[in-house]
Amino acid sequence: MSTPLPALVGIVPAAGAVLAYGAGRRSGRLRNAAVFTTAAAAFALCCWLNSIVRRQGAAAYRISWALGEGLTFHVDAFGAQLALLVALVWLLVTAFSFRYVAHEHAPNRFYLMYLLTFSGCLGVFLAGDLFTLYLFFELMTFAAYPLVVHEESPEALEAGGFYLYLSVAGGLLILLGAFLLRHVLGTTAWMPAADRLQEAGVNPYLLFALLCAGFGVKAGMLPLHVWLPRAHPVAPSPASALLSGLMIKAGAYGIARSALVLLQSGDAVGQAVQTAYTAAVGHGVGTFLLWAGAATMLGGAIMAILAPEFKKVLAYSSVSQMGYIIFGLGGAAFLGSQGGVAFGAAWLHMINHALFKSTLFLVAGAVMQHTGKRRLSDLGGLARQLPLVFVAFLVAAGGLTGLPGFNGYVSKTLLHHAILEVAGHGGGAAALVLEKIFVFTSGLTVVYALRLLFQVFLGRSPQPRRAELLPVSQELALASLALLVAAIGVAPGPVLAGLILPAAKGLRFDPHALEHLTHLSVFTLHDLEGPLIALGIGAAVYLLAGRRPVGAAPPWLSVEELVYRPLVSLGRRTVDLARALELAEPASRAVAWAAGLAVLLRLRMARTALALPFYRAWLFLVTPGARRTSPEWSEVNIGFDLLLLAATLMVLLVGMFYLVRAVW
């Protein structure tokens, strides 16, 4: 059905941002009211959109005048529910944020960017084609940057630089993918495209690699995650909650769409059908995503254990949990039409992680607000000082570690089912290795959760209690998020039936496999083994090694040290070298260096007679004043400029020659 509602949902927060900024120049209270109203309005619109989508299957809208290509919105259940999740968490975090931001500088700028990011984030899930998605994705990227560097400290600026450059590069890869699609299909709509790609002779893996790398940056996929553990902790806590809870889901969503929609082949009406070709592509892509997810979850968990700060632990934990989601998506791609459970697991984990991770970041925010400290070694004994925060932490940590009764348990159990299905459908021994990684990582998750519990909330408190208590708005926000975490954990049935099923139906999973999803009881004895094993591993590791305070992670563990620093320094050195050879100007000397030398050798005899005066005069014309620092000249330059001159003369001579020939 065509309705302007999706476009409206995408635009309302942006309009609210401008309004709030204007209001903020008059008074802070007015601004806060505007911000909250905007978030509430967006939430209400998302609810409305959801009900429309539920009734009619999809909502679409097209603004054809914009940007030449036109903006296309197409919302199915998957997108609509994610948008609803975004709006809900955003609303709660907004309620929490007011008191927190009151301690910060430049609140007007913060809320301007905060709502613009909101707009971008919603738009990503509502976009009907890659082009529109890219626009909102970039809006999100750039609007979030001032949030990341809000503190304006050198540390924040450095983290922001990492974030920005990786994101811009990722955005360009997505754009490349969009060009490829546009060129082959004539449109960038989210529709099955594998057979058309095959006809056009475009390798589907190339398309997937471009999109996966582009979205993988946002999703924090190993080894593209380096910006995440730096950027998320330095932002103000409400912003970290949104960055870590919601924004990285945009990356996962993009990967899901590319792997599960684009790489299918469509029938006449665009409905996906499975063919041998797409099954093969799905196998390949799925295997890659499974391993990438496993690496990401394991690496993130290890780094989370080693991280010295509260919010850094949470940021690495986000990397690790995104690994679970990518893992689930990989399972879904691998299993093809049988991948209903795997997709449901990934999808549910997206919801769950958004809820418990934003809770945890808000907890960290409350702790910061209360103590002003961020290092774990400076914290302790806060359970008595902040009882409600402590309870919220316990609930969210329950979700994080996958304890029965909390939401993470459901999705992780489903993931476990999914990996066993992969093993049963041709995954073989490799799938069993993946299963072991999965279980072991769950154990490591327990380790860092325990570290947080003992170092922040239990033990002795190193500092006296501050006078300021949490205001009601913050307590309410924390309590609501924690309640949602617990509710999904206690009664997963309605969520599975009401949310996951419609979303999965929009993709092309076998109804039988989906049927399985709703009748699944996760509270069987067999499934309850999972968290027990994880707890066992976790407790053992924690007791053996985890209690000692840790310093910085060893450099050999850090992808940044291993890959990025060398790359960056190589880039710098290239620019320096180019500079030294004056690559940039007056002409590409780097290329001509060798050639110039050769010319020099041949001209050695004639040089003093001819080249010297010639060279200097030429140099005067071609070299910008500021560069000619001294009348001394190097032989390399002579060689090159002579070459350039000779080339110019050749052109002229040839022209004259032709002229004479022609007129004769």
Binding site: W65, A66, L67, G68, E69, Y134, L135, E138, F142, Y145, P146, V149, E152, L157, G160, L164, Y165, V168, A169, L172, L175, L176, F179, L180, R182, H183, V575, A578, R579, L583, A584, E585, P586, A587, S588, F620, L621, V622, T623, P624, G625, A626, L644, V651, L652, V654, G655, Y658, L659, R661, A662, V663
Partner: protein
């Protein structure tokens, strides 16, 4: 032919030309007023261009025979939709920059220089608009020379060591280019006996059969001459100094309009004039593509390491000229569209960047980018305009730079040269590497202790606002521009 409206086509050239003479009247009191004269004239010319564009939209291309003598004997102006589109854009920028100059210029060149500026400015406007409108090859040469002299004069206005030397170098190299261009005209005239572009085009096809080498040599000389003038790498050497040493309004016009106009003449002549086998020949397309690629990367690399803001922008112009000619070399429909859109997109953005940089330099006294911490708080409006321009240059949607890059990239795919898709996208990353840190430094780093910005009158802020708005609107509604230039481009690409 009697109503004044029917003479609009030539009025856009004649009015600024006459006003240029008036600007140099020798009275002391006239000095400041001459600047106002320039603004008013530019506004009037803009008005003519609006009327002209409306006429062209209604009735299609306008042909105007100067002095009532039809071609091939007289000189003709041809205002087709593409020309109308460019006239509109270029005269608009001339008007806005003049408005800005009224307030900013005196601080840079002193009161005595104002009449000279006004005269040269109007002369330049007349020449460039004539360049776009004329349908005669020799007339093109004359306008090229007038614009070269006026542009060099605008560089030399500051009258300090650097600008005089840069002006000299600019003049000599530009004249070399004109020499080559005139040579090409002589060759073409020798083989066809025509100078009117339409007649020339018809006569060239048979002439190509009898004198292929002459035609090829003419094409080579034409390209060489215009590449020097348009500053296509590696013939850009005069540009960074000249554009950086000129006073701010001059830099904005030189980087924003002059270079683009030359690139446009190249596009028009090569694609329109030469018969299909020559125009589509890879013998000139490949060198142009390589030179453009080198320009894009080398210009960006040089800009990354540049600390002087005006020089950084000048190097950025070097790389943007690469984009302009990349589409010409690709010669596919989308590529040409991208080039043609980029002419105006870049003109608007680069003019805005130079004006904003000039305003920031004036209110903070800091020319070095590394000292721009927190400038956004001291000069919020210029810094915001700079940010918009910078993001557009990087190619962030929905600003207009994104639109050009979108069409250029599609053009690369259409021409089956995906390599250049990578060129466009990788260079965006390079652009980001020097533009974004400046924006970040302006807005997101703690300010240094410094001067409080003087409040500036509306005449200086209005151009920045209008240009920033245009940057956004041209990005949001490219369909307007596409409608104007689309058909001509399709005709070119079909050849």
């Amino acid at each position: 032919m009697t109503s004044p409206v029917s003479h609009l086509g030539v009025l856009v050239v004649i009015v600024p030309l006459l006003a240029a003479y008036c600007a140099e009247l020798p009275w002391q009191a006239w000095r400041r007023a001459s600047l106002r004269l320039a603004t008013v004239t530019a506004a009037a010319v803009f008005g003519f261009c609006v009327l002209l564009a409306a006429q062209v939209m209604q009735k299609g291309a306008l042909l105007y025979a100067i002095g009532g003598r039809p071609a091939p004997w007289g000189i003709e102006f041809l205002i087709d939709p593409v020309a109308a589109y460019l006239l509109l854009g270029l005269s608009g920028i001339f008007f806005l920059v003049a408005l800005f100059a009224e307030d900013e210029l005196e601080a840079e060149i002193g009161e005595a220089g104002l009449p000279h500026f006004s005269a040269l400015y109007l002369l330049l406007e007349a020449a460039l608009l004539g360049l776009v409108a004329t349908n005669d090859l020799f007339n093109t040469f004359v306008f090229l020379e007038i614009s070269a002299i006026a542009a060099v004069g605008l560089v030399a206005l500051k009258n300090d060591r650097l600008s005089i030397e840069a002006a000299y170098r600019y003049l000599i190299l530009s004249t070399l280019g004109s020499g080559a261009f005139l040579f090409a005209i002589a060759l073409l005239y020798a083989v066809t006996g025509h100078l009117n572009l339409e007649y020339l085009k018809q006569a060239l096809a048979p002439a190509l059969a009898s004198y292929p080498l002459s035609v090829a040599a003419a094409l080579a000389m034409l390209l060489l001459g215009l590449m020097v003038k348009a500053a296509l790498y590696p013939l850009h050497i005069w540009l960074p100094d000249a554009h950086a040493a000129a006073p701010t309004p001059s830099s904005a016009i030189l980087s924003g309009v002059v270079v683009e106009a030359y690139a446009l003449v190249l596009l028009k002549l090569v694609l329109h004039l030469f018969p299909a086998p020559v125009a589509a020949s890879s013998a000139w397309r490949l060198p142009v593509l390589w030179a453009s690629t080198a320009a894009i990367f080398a210009g960006s690399l040089a800009a990354i390491r540049e600390d002087d803001i005006k020089k950084m922008l000048a190097y950025s112009t070097v790389s943007q000229v690469g984009y302009l000619l990349l589409g010409v070399g690709l010669l596919s429909r989308s590529g040409l569209l991208g080039s043609l859109l980029h002419v105006l997109n870049h003109a608007v953005v680069k003019a805005m960047l130079f004006l904003a940089a000039g305003a920031i330099i004036r209110s903070t006294g800091r020319r070095r980018v590394s000292e721009w911490q927190g400038v956004g708080l001291q000069a919020p409006l210029p810094a915001a305009a700079f940010a918009v321009g910078a993001l557009s240059m990087v190619g962030i949607p929905p600003l207009n730079g994104f639109i050009s890059k979108w069409y250029l990239s599609l053009g690369a795919l259409e021409a089956r040269m995906p390599l250049y898709l990578w060129v466009v996208l990788l260079s965006s990353l390079l652009n980001a590497a020097y533009y974004i840190p400046v924006v970040v430094r302006c807005f997101l780093t703690p300010a240094r202790a410094g001067l409080k910005a003087p409040s500036r009158p509306a005449s200086a802020t209005a151009p920045l606002l209008v240009l920033a708005l245009a940057t956004l609107l041209m990005g949001l509604f490219p369909s307007v521009q596409l409608g104007l230039v689309g058909r001509t481009v399709a005709a070119w690409a079909a050849r």
